[in-house]
């Protein structure tokens, strides 16, 4: 078929975009059925425990509750997943919980609040078991078995132990001219779809039919699993189409809420809606797997890769979802990327007491390729060869057969490498100066990737069926069981159908996910839709066209073979007078349907070795990154990414470009900032605030090159495209960082806490912890923490914890003036809190860190607002929103540093409502405290500080005693440096407090009961200059460190200095030694500024993970002082 393509390749807009931009697209959370109940899930508060008692009697009797389910309510079959020993999980825990967040019971009630309240009435008795939180602990000889013997290998916590040689690999290592060996590791990244997982289930007891609306990529697998665990025939389970808010693998197989909503609907005989909240999504949603990669590469003298040996350890988490396919996917890269002569692969899939891993875009490829491409760079350096040149010599080529048995057909790898190198300016930038701007190191890196297109990786094979319906009005509907999760597949499948039918894409719509309307298809995962479902759609389109031709031939009395379909018209080539618009044809022929099947032609991989040519074709690509590393902060800023991908054929360039942009940005997140942090098996950064998915400011310019190789097997030449867009990103970035810094990092993400200490290794700071005498005691206690202090406090002390009562519903008082405010605050015997913008308070109430009984709203008290100039003082009402400061011309004019500093706080939406007093009085920011660990600050004096041993990257380096939470408010150092005074009003009148004396501890001010902040008074002087420097990974994040400076001048000399440090200590503290040094110098030169800045960290005692903050603080202080001096009046 050589006719020019009309519909394939068109840049048409997304199908369904109008609904998306106007709020009309319906997602699972938007479904409301008559009589629908709302469900909530009881989750394990322990990583590992036996359940010795479970009593739901009180919950069943609670108001509004209609159904309560526990493991007993299911027939007792575990999820099928991949079958055999891998079927290791039940929809609700049976006698044992194996990870924090595991589902124990679920409740359906008239309202969500009633369901959540009833959860608290379920009584569970746990016998806590030691939690195995790392693969090493789980594989220790005396480790407790997590599962039944039938689910584990040799009685150990192993789901899989795989090992295989591909060719004479030992000989290759023996013959090698040089062997490279490194170990790489990374933690858990998560898909973090904008729509959380959720399901609406409806059961008809009369017919026995169960209908589901669910946020999934794979109706096929949902149906199979739900039928299996609920005990229904698969034909009785029906999925309906609904918009899906992102997938990325996280919704590619069953997620537990589908089974729970289904069983609740069966029990309640009413529809049930179960939507996970964001925290539940983080603690229980399917994640990527943490891995440790040991890579050995053997090369010959000329650089040929004689052997690549990979030993992989994958953290399975508590249950096996589809990890066996993950084991296989990781194998693909190590045996197939570049020309590898022999290979070895061994892999342990290890059970631990953590959230079960699932699938996430790339299935481990981004990190495997990071390891491989690190070696490619190191080998090139060893050979004295340009890294691009070396890669081109080793690139995969058409006709190659890889050690895994892949037969490479069309191959654009070299083209992709050359293209990205050209576009990034490789030759020039590789040679150019690395420190073009002082203090900023630049570098470029490159990486390639390989990915199967339509691989046979399912037990069912890899097939698709599509039905296309011609309606009587001449429109067409493609019915597919795949799910468009935002990939535009409903647009590209319509284009394929339109092309096959010879009609404009505008006449074709796609109905997805509906298991009654569409024939079976394995769903939207592994980038299979464009290729596999695309081929089925093309065939169905061709079949329908033939059917229409036959039908029309009867009506027109002509040979169907003479009918040509193009541009929405049908013509007879034999009789030019015979021509009709497709609408007329449809009216004549009536509704017609055609269905077609496509099954990928690949072999099945050999189960013992994984060997086989099991994809129809392979996808290649390359990415190049240019980065700039800030030596002062350790932050990697991506200046540009160039990506080239062999897409076979771009079905719709806008669609595949969107996939590339999105995949690359997710790769950037993995490379630089994303990692789920665990403490005692509990994710502590289970929010978008702390789990740092890229925000808009993290998106670099991205340049794309789509390489079209017109694959002979692909639909109109297309290959798989969406998933592998992420594959080369980490590697390209990491290689660019290595080029810029001359250093290699073997752990991800490449965050400042890892990079900065190494960058600053040559700059020893004199911390002089003895400058703060209590540090001796603190250091001694910390030393004793692991062996003695923590275990005792954790085990015994927390029994006496006085943690906030849960479920208290606060009353509200909304006074209109100061008197009313004071009267409300005077309410006796009530735990009272003032309400500013509520942006932290409402979150805190949900986090369980408050048990407030009365909220006193400040929003209507006009006397708390206003910005005014009075007697050389700027008066700022405590109730002003942060936005009112940035909007104020007065503030911008006379104190620009304040306006600019406030502009760095949080997000525009938060600044619109958050107040000055609220910023200053917000609760401490420590992820252990915020996760409601029974810590010293939450539970009282008998409890430990979890930050001493847990991940303490963001904690205090200065002044931490029993609590290491830093002061998070940016206004605290700013106001302190400006010499502000807080005006406080209370039952005994007004008082003024200097900012230095405002705090007692992080989140704890000097306000006593009944008092309220009225305003702040900031002294102004025409002879002062100011600066504020803040560092946070993303704009909008809380500071990791900040420095505010006010300098007073006379005749060009510094006569006054106030320097306040933020986010490094529980209080905003003055850097007095630095101030003195500046005063002494009067007109400090660069060297004196640096020396003064270094004094700011004196007396600090960093924790294990926050040594970078000492450098950060000094470097920010240096910058801020420099800026303030530049702005001298």
């Amino acid at each position: 078929m050589n006719a020019p393509l009309r519909e394939v390749g068109r840049r048409i807009p997304q199908k369904g975009a109008e609904q998306r931009v106007s709020g009309g697209a319906v997602y699972t959370q938007d479904i409301a059925l008559p009589g629908m109940l709302h469900a909530a899930v009881l989750r394990s508060p322990h990583a590992h425990a036996l359940i010795s008692g479970l009593d739901v009697t009180a919950a069943r009797a609670a108001p509004g509750v209609v159904a309560v389910i526990t493991a007993e309510d299911f027939p007792g079959k575990p999820y099928y997943q991949l079958g055999g020993s891998y079927s290791d999980r039940h929809p609700l825990a049976r006698g044992k919980v194996r990870f924090y967040g595991e589902e124990i019971a679920a409740i359906a009630a008239e309202t969500l609040e009633a369901a959540q309240a009833a959860l608290k009435l379920i009584e569970v008795t746990y016998e806590i078991l030691p939690a195995l939180l790392t693969p090493e602990a789980a594989l220790a000889p005396d480790a407790l078995p997590l599962h039944e013997a039938a689910n584990m290998l040799g009685g150990r916590n192993l789901a899989i132990r795989f090992t295989c040689d591909y060719g004479p690999v030992q000989q290759a290592f023996a013959d090698a001219a040089k062997v490279f060996e490194d170990e790489f590791s990374h933690g858990v990244a998560v898909p973090a779809c904008m729509e959380t997982n959720g399901t609406v289930a409806s059961f008809d007891p009369a017919s026995g039919d169960l209908t589901l609306w669910t946020a999934t990529q794979a109706p096929f697998f949902i149906r199979k699993e739900v039928a299996h665990v609920v005990g229904l025939d698969v034909e009785r389970v029906h999925l309906r189409g609904v918009e899906v808010g992102g997938g990325f693998g996280g919704k590619s197989k069953i997620c537990e809420q589908e089974a729970l909503a289904a069983m609740l609907a069966v029990k309640a005989q009413r529809p049930v809606k179960l939507i996970l909240d964001r925290r539940e999504e983080f603690i229980s949603g399917k994640t990527d797997h943490a891995k440790r990669i040991r890579l050995r590469t053997a090369i010959a003298d000329d650089g040929r890769i004689l052997a690549r040996a990979t030993s992989l350890q994958i953290d399975n988490g508590a249950y096996t979802a589809y990890a066996p396919t993950y084991v296989g996917a990781a194998r693909q890269r190590t045996t197939c990327l570049y020309r590898v002569e022999t290979a070895h692969y061994d892999c342990d899939l290890v059970y631990t007491n953590k959230v079960p891993g699932g699938q996430y875009r790339g299935m481990g490829a981004p990190q495997m390729i990071w390891a491989i491409e690190t070696h490619m760079d190191k080998i090139a350096a060893h050979l004295g060869m340009d890294p691009l040149e070396y890669r081109l010599r080793q690139a995969n080529q058409s006709g190659d057969v890889t050690p895994l048995g892949w037969k490479i057909s069309s191959c654009g790898q070299s083209d992709c490498l050359n293209e990205v190198a050209r576009r990034i300016g490789w030759a020039e930038k590789r040679q150019g100066p690395r420190e073009a701007t002082p203090g900023k190191l630049r570098g470029v890196g490159i990486a390639a990737m390989i990915h199967p297109s339509g691989g046979v990786i399912y037990q069912e094979g890899n097939y698709s069926n599509t039905r296309i319906q011609m309606l009587a009005d001449g429109r067409f509907v493609v019915h597919t069981q795949t799910a468009d999760t935002g990939t535009w597949q409903n647009t590209t499948l319509a284009q394929i159908a339109a092309e096959a039918l010879g009609v404009p894409s505008e006449l074709v719509s796609v109905s997805h996910m509906d298991t009654d309307a569409a024939p079976p298809d394995l769903g939207s995962a592994a980038s299979r839709v464009a290729f596999v479902s695309g081929n089925a759609t093309k065939r169905a389109g061709e079949a329908l066209r033939a059917m229409v031709a036959r039908e029309l031939g009867r009506h027109w009395n002509c040979n169907p073979d003479d009918l040509a379909f193009a541009e929405g018209k049908v013509r007879s080539t034999a009789d030019p007078s015979r021509m009709a618009d497709i609408a007329e044809v449809a009216a004549l022929c009536g509704e017609l349907n055609a269905e077609a099947r496509y099954s990928t032609p690949g072999e099945r991989p050999d189960p013992a070795t994984g060997i086989g040519n099991y994809a129809a074709t392979y996808v290649f690509g390359a990415q190049a990154a240019e980065v700039e590393v800030d030596m002062a902060t350790g932050q990697v800023r991506i200046l540009k990414i160039v990506a080239a991908q062999d897409v076979g054929r771009a079905l719709n360039p806008v669609a595949i470009e969107g996939q590339l942009y999105g995949g690359i940005l997710q790769g950037i997140g993995m490379a630089l900032q994303e990692e789920l942090i665990f403490e005692e098996g509990r994710p502590v950064n289970a929010s978008f605030l702390d789990y740092k998915v890229p925000r808009i400011g993290d998106a670099p310019p991205i340049e794309l090159a789509l390489i079209e190789t017109n694959d002979p097997e692909g639909p109109f030449g297309a290959k798989a495209g969406a998933e592998p867009t992420i594959n080369a990103s980490i590697a390209a970035i990491a290689n660019a960082v290595a080029h810029a810094t001359g250093m290699r990092f073997y752990e991800l993400p490449l965050s400042p806490d890892r990079i900065l200490p190494k960058l600053q290794a040559g700059r020893k700071l004199a911390l002089k912890p003895w400058k703060r005498p209590y540090n001796l005691e603190v250091a001694t206690v910390r030393k004793a923490y692991p062996a003695a202090v923590f275990p005792v406090l954790r085990k015994i002390g927390t029994k006496f914890a006085n943690t906030p009562k849960q479920g208290v519903k606060p009353e509200i008082a909304a006074p209109r003036d100061i008197d009313g405010l004071l009267a409300a605050l005077a309410s006796p015997n009530k735990r009272t809190k003032l309400l500013g913008g509520g942006t932290d308070l409402f979150v805190g109430l949900r986090q369980g860190i408050y048990d407030t009984e009365l909220l006193v709203d400040t929003a209507r008290v006009d006397a708390l607002r206003g910005i005014a100039l009075q007697d050389d003082m700027l008066h700022i009402g405590a109730g002003n929103t942060l936005a009112s400061l940035t909007d104020s011309d007065l503030v911008r004019r006379i104190l620009p540093m304040l306006a600019e500093g406030v502009d760095l706080i949080a997000t525009p939406q938060i600044r619109r409502v958050a107040t000055v007093a609220g910023d200053l009085c917000q609760e401490k920011r420590c992820w252990f405290f915020r996760s409601a660990f029974p810590c010293y600050k939450l539970g009282g004096a008998t409890c430990p500080c979890f930050a001493v041993q847990g991940n303490n990257r963001f904690h205090s380096i200065l002044g931490a005693k029993r609590c290491a939470a830093p002061c998070p408010a940016d206004l605290a150092p700013i106001f302190t440096a400006l010499g502000a005074q807080a005006v406080i009003i209370g039952p005994n009148g007004q008082r003024k407090v200097a900012m230095e004396d405002f705090y007692q501890w992080s989140g704890l001010s000097c306000l006593t009961a009944g008092e309220v902040l009225l305003r702040f008074e900031l002294p102004l002087s025409a002879r002062s200059s100011h600066a504020f420097e803040k560092f946070a990974v993303r704009r909008s994040d809380f500071a990791e460190s900040s420095v505010a400076v006010r300098l007073d001048w006379e005749a060009g000399r510094i006569t006054g200095a106030r320097i306040a440090l933020g986010a490094v200590a529980p209080l905003p503290i003055r850097a007095e030694a630095t101030e003195r040094a500046l005063l002494a110098a009067g007109r400090p030169d660069a060297k004196q500024i640096r020396a003064a800045a270094e004094l700011a960290v004196q007396g600090s005692l960093p924790l294990r993970d926050n040594a970078h903050k000492t450098h950060l603080l000094v470097n920010l202080a240096e910058r801020a002082i420099r800026t303030a001096i530049e702005h001298a009046p």
Binding site: I696, K809, I812, R846, A859, Q909, V913
Partner: protein, 152 residues
């Protein structure tokens, strides 16, 4: 409590717990489900609506504070005949993928354009800091907003 709100120009009443988030009042009682709840903590911006013309996170905005206020949601931007220039620009630039962030993104971007009709790229990036998109890589969104700004 009984709430009276002017939503998209129409006076509406609702019965809500005073601390219930405005997002839920809009979605559950007024059937305006275009406003999405992505995190419930004001961190992702999917729930962005305008209260008295200011873009706020409705998942953190307590119902009692909205009493008597003019609220604009995504459903209130377009007329039945015509999308706004920004909505059309999102379509034309391929700025939607899964669409779950789109309502909030458009509400935030429209508020930005109302204040600053000709924003620079830096203004757009700064103004949309509160809105997370996991699909698009943001590039098409930035281009869509800039294209409207340049036309004005």
């Amino acid at each position: 409590m009984k709430l009276t709100l002017r939503v998209n120009g129409i006076e509406q009443t609702a019965e809500a717990d005073p601390l219930q988030p405005l997002a839920r009042v809009l979605r559950e009682q007024l059937n305006l489900r275009g406003t999405k709840i992505g995190c419930g903590n004001g961190e992702c911006g999917a729930c962005t609506v305008w209260v008295e013309g200011e873009a706020v996170c409705s998942c953190l905005y307590p119902a009692f504070r909205a009493e008597g206020c003019a609220i604009t949601t995504i459903e209130g931007l377009a007329t039945p005949e015509r999308l706004t220039a920004l909505q059309q620009a999102f379509i034309d630039h391929g700025a939607t993928q899964c669409g779950f962030c789109t309502s909030g993104m458009i509400m935030a971007a429209s508020a930005l354009l109302a204040r600053n009709p000709q924003p620079t790229e830096a203004d757009v990036v700064h103004g949309l800091t509160g809105n997370i998109c996991r699909c698009t890589g943001y590039r098409q969104i930035i281009d869509a907003v800039l294209s409207v700004g340049n036309k004005q």
